[in-house]
Symmetry: C2
Subunit: 226 residues, 2 copies
């Protein structure tokens, strides 16, 4: 079974592949969406890093966590680095999806301050998915000091997020929603990097989630008029 995935022709890797559901030899083969399967493998990577750290990430452990064979993992990702690069790039989609669910759950009308607070605080390890993402983020940062490919992806993610925060602050300033004398560009970047600096301390229990949110809310109260 484990060899099956390895022997899969490479041309299947970008198309819908037929894989056994694993329910026994007599089961009907199930059509698997390769993108869904890759995302499931990325989720297994997050779980392994979140529970046992970066050092524990092996193709074998990820396969076992995802409940598939090593061969199947190797069918989608040629190397461990390929797998990790995909996991890192998929992280952004996962965080954005979580932010959308969070925004949808907030009472209307949503003020710009509420929106900024949600977009910024979604990066903090306030719940289990957030803790897993924070652990993964820190692990990739550590790896990025020695692996330029990770650094490139991280820089790209940071640049987009700071640009998005700056656009929100600039729009709020134009609408007169920021306090007098507040520089939207400097404050958007400072708030973004403040949150980045709170991730690690919350993750290791130096700060409670409430203490981190209190620091965030103090800054929002200083920056926003309403």
């Amino acid at each position: 079974m484990q060899l099956h995935g390895i022997q899969c022709p490479a041309k299947l890797s970008n198309a819908t592949a037929l894989l056994s559901t694993g329910e026994g030899l007599g089961s009907v083969p199930k059509r698997v969406d390769p993108e869904e399967r890759r995302q499931a493998i990325a989720e297994a990577v997050y779980q392994v890093i979140g529970e046992r750290g970066w050092d524990a990430v092996t193709l074998r452990d990820v396969a076992s966590t995802a409940g598939i064979s090593m061969g199947q993992v190797q069918h989608y990702f040629t190397t461990k680095t390929d797998m990790l690069m995909f996991a890192l790039s998929h992280m952004r989609d996962r965080v954005l999806a979580r932010l959308e669910r969070r925004l949808a759950g907030l009472p209307r009308p949503l003020s710009q301050r509420d929106q900024v607070r949600a977009a910024i605080s979604v990066m903090l390890p306030l719940d289990e998915p957030g803790r897993q993402e924070a652990a993964v983020n820190i692990a990739f940062f550590s790896a990025a000091t020695a692996t330029p490919g990770y650094a490139h992806l991280l820089r790209d993610g940071y640049a987009r997020q700071v640009a998005s925060a700056t656009a929100q602050f600039t729009a709020a300033a134009a609408e007169g929603r920021l306090n007098e004398g507040v520089d939207p560009g400097h404050e958007a970047a400072a708030l973004y990097y403040l949150i980045q600096g709170l991730i690690g301390p919350v993750l290791i229990g130096q700060l409670s989630p409430d203490q981190a949110l209190d620091l965030l809310d103090h800054q929002l109260g200083r920056i926003f008029r309403s």
Copy 2:
């Protein structure tokens, strides 16, 4: 030669040990201060992490970088984790020593703002020693998600540093050196964690050292009256 250190009696590990200078068989044995030797091993750990990342840290690589035998490393540290724990705890002394040299080089009189700026910015990867310390710090954070001992040491370091920043801000407030309405406790913590959040982005080239210092100076200008 490599076995020599392994066979050293353990009772020597807390006393001054006689070790060869490595200058040849005919050289005079040199008295080695065990604390200095441990610090030299910690420096080799920083160098390996800074250049090749956490994954590259092995007793063998650290020994080779320190220019000593694996046996000598094992004489001072029973396990790799012992060695890394010592390296992490020694980091604080190294940063403080660098801060003292930096403060000594600044023109007098030193304002409280100058002192805060020096104490805060010494944590940023602005030069090669700072880059090495930042890489080591991030690596330990990543490891701390799976190793409670590292998390304990990191929490201890953070608590001391935030307490020190808060004391500086409170003293400055009492002397009327902070702008009106500035909450010293909240702002000391926020500035400290902002710097923590800038370390990674400067390290991976997302922000230049000057951009990071500009964000820091904008906040200092907002907080300090002079």
